[in-house]
Symmetry: C3
Subunit: 339 residues, 3 copies
């Protein structure tokens, strides 16, 4: 593909030889002749100078002479589109593989691909163009929307609902029982029936091994556009807001909610019945024990405003110093008081 | 179902119109006409006042007039039994699906259901009325008891033993190798063979994606009635006590033990060779580095008595203040000493 | 097997009756007549004294009279070799099970065992003597080396590469998409295509449920001899050094690297774009926010040198004391200043 064609598709300005042949995309470090790369700002210019790439996407205001460039208002975004020109995701062949096990009364949309050794239970439904990869399990009565990709070893449990354009990576579990028991007097635990469901709205992506539990009653909901990373735990009756981000290994206890556009960094834990506000940010490894206001940025176990937390953590290593100082002051006071 | 019939089944006192037709159960917030709800105490009365439910379970001592009520010593427990009246879990059809792969010498009990694409290895045994859902793997020589539910993508590894009435949710791994190596002089790791097994006793429930490792020698044991939440890690040779509760994402290192009725809250980590006492409680995200006495309530990394921990955390944000105070005291002392 | 034969195979000195019949290996606590046990040092002698074992491996310098012993420079290592004499791992029958689904153009090595209900996609390759257990998924174009064991419910995604003698325990996911998005002005997230791959080098072992994400571009790499425990998260473009150890539930964010022989203890979190040095040790539950030098030993959230961290944590519970002391000093100063 010629650089000028790429510039045209990206609708971006070209500077330099548009006839340059581009055969792939790469990072600055690994690019070879024929590769297109990108830099998001001037701090990456030295890396670009020493790169073997044949062309680069650079920010709109900038200039570069050594190799031809494409200028973009948002270089990373433009580069992503270029990446997609070179790496079209291979479409699975539509059809139901003879080694798949699909219930007779399951509703299967148009151009669906159901790979070998996958299971679609009684009364389940699969939307148009959705891909069920090998060894996935769609339990009876579950509903999957259009244009989804359900990877190997995903389980969507009975009665759960998955919207359109949802990607569930390997091993995701949607709708296992919430963790609810009542302790009886003899110390044993009586299970609280988990009769609710999970609803995953459109455009959600969930990472490998994440678990979204079904509600006791009502529903657990992951709203439109939310993105959930690997090995995240979402308990029963939780509500994840639109476009929220849950980074890997986050855990959210029962009946809590996460606001729209909120970001929970890696390994954050959230207690039950807590509300995290819209646009809130929670630093990695924090433990959220109370409501977090809209737009707040918090950190720590238990969490605090990030500014309080930072001041505190700068000074904490001085504790030995503080203890020593106190002792000295006491001694000096003793001396004064003794006269 | 008429309310008076429900009251009769629950063996509870009815107040109001027993002829009220009940068609389902629901939470206070989502209840509609025909639904039965419950409140556990007077703080939920306002929610009940504005609920559309047709009837409610309320605590024994209380009164309510707007809608008919059932009075129960333990309203939640009574409600749970009502929930179960309306939501009987669908029984899988007994039988071995022709697309299941069951070894010829596996022992299969009565009324067992083995769903399609599940695997039962040589010499394994499956107890009466147990359900092996689609795509589960029972390795050679594993033994599953009676009345269990083994969900899709569960693996019970070679020689491991699962008791009666055990529920393993999707993706649970029972008996993968413990993580044990000896570092050799050249820096490489020599694997310590993991030849022990896992024993899961009766009435245990284990959540999605949890991993219970086999012992190096001897066994890893999860005792009767323990409940383990999603994505929990139990290492080799660990012993989990009767009715213990491990909340989501807890991790327990090798050879440690958890006492009976102990509760480990979410994301707790436990070092190796540590004993957590009976009835102990560990607050979320704590790191247990030493033995925890029976009945203790601890928190923090490293853990401390919860009272010490609470006092500490109330004061920690004052550290900047403390540092400032110290400086001022010093200055005042300097002034006094100079005369 | 006679004790003298075991001593011979282990190339160790025997003391006592070499004709002693050894029928198994066990831990000190559970050993019965016929069992061989080991002690690594004199602190285990009392346990040996009360053990029912018929023989023991003991350290080279030591003596023991009650039962015959084998003396070894490294008793645990010698014992491991004895364990292996008694527990040969059962070899799967080579061959492709008729209920496996293997693409016509997949390259299958010699003496490979592909168990029932496993899936090998188009263009994938499986090395000599490798075992693909039931219900594993090898995606199209993935390459598995020689002498590997791929357990049930493992997924090796498209184009990923696994070396020789690699063991992937149940539910491991190699090559799910990295977690990368650009937030657009309307708050939605544009996915950054994850077009790279994962390379798992030789002699790596990965525990149940761990997830190793593919790179956006280039690759995520787990180097030779690294050992990864259960439920670990390794993000896109991460580089795990030779013989590194990642204990259970560790999470490593994008583009970070872990040095050779480094040890990350359980539940450690590592921020993105951070370098952990060779031979570094990170204490359990720490949060790594900046580079860690070679050979450092760090702890805490955020991490600090372990010595600083220890001093700090010994004193932190004294904070209430410190606050009280400060108040008293102030009062005394006030009194002095007032005259």
């Amino acid at each position: 593909m010629k650089l000028k064609n790429i510039a045209e598709i990206l609708d971006c300005l070209l500077e330099g030889d548009g006839e340059t042949e581009i055969t792939g995309v790469a990072s600055l470090e690994t690019a070879r002749k024929g590769d297109l790369v990108y830099i998001s700002g001037s701090k990456h210019r030295p890396a670009l100078d020493s790169s073997s790439a044949s062309a680069a996407v650079i920010p709109e205001g900038e200039h570069y002479e050594r190799i031809p460039v494409i200028r973009a208002a948002h270089p990373h975004l433009a580069f992503i589109r270029a990446v997609e020109l070179f790496h079209e995701t291979p479409r699975s062949q539509p059809g139901i593989h003879p080694l798949a096990c699909v219930a007779g009364d399951a509703r299967i949309g148009r151009d669906v691909s159901i790979e070998p050794l996958s299971y679609v239970g009684a009364g389940a439904s699969i939307g148009d163009r959705t891909i069920i990869r090998a060894l996935a399990a769609i339990y009876p009565g579950a509903e999957i929307g259009d244009d989804c990709v359900i990877h190997s070893h995903v389980a969507v449990r009975e009665g759960c609902i998955v919207g359109d354009r949802v990607v569930l990576h390997n091993g995701v579990v949607v709708g296992a029982d919430g963790f609810g028991y009542i302790r009886l007097e003899d110390g044993t635990h009586r299970k609280i029936p988990q009769m609710g469901r999970v609803v995953i709205e459109d455009d959600v992506e969930i990472g490998a091994g994440a678990a979204i539990d079904r509600a006791a009653l009502d529903e657990t909901r992951v709203r439109r556009g939310a993105k959930i990373d690997n090995l995240v735990q979402v308990a029963h009756n939780v509500d994840i807001g639109e476009n929220a981000i849950l980074v890997a290994q986050v855990g959210i206890a029962g009946s809590s909610s996460v606001g729209r556009n909120a970001i929970l960094s890696g390994q954050v834990g959230v207690a039950d019945h807590v509300r995290i506000g819209d646009n809130a940010i929670v630093a990695a490894k924090s433990g959220i024990t109370k409501d977090v206001p809209d737009g707040a940025f918090v950190a720590g176990i238990p969490h605090q405003d990030i500014r309080v937390w930072r001041k505190m953590w700068v000074l904490l290593p001085q504790i030995p110093e503080i203890v020593k100082d106190l002792k000295q002051l006491k001694a000096r006071l003793d001396a004064i008081e003794k006269g």
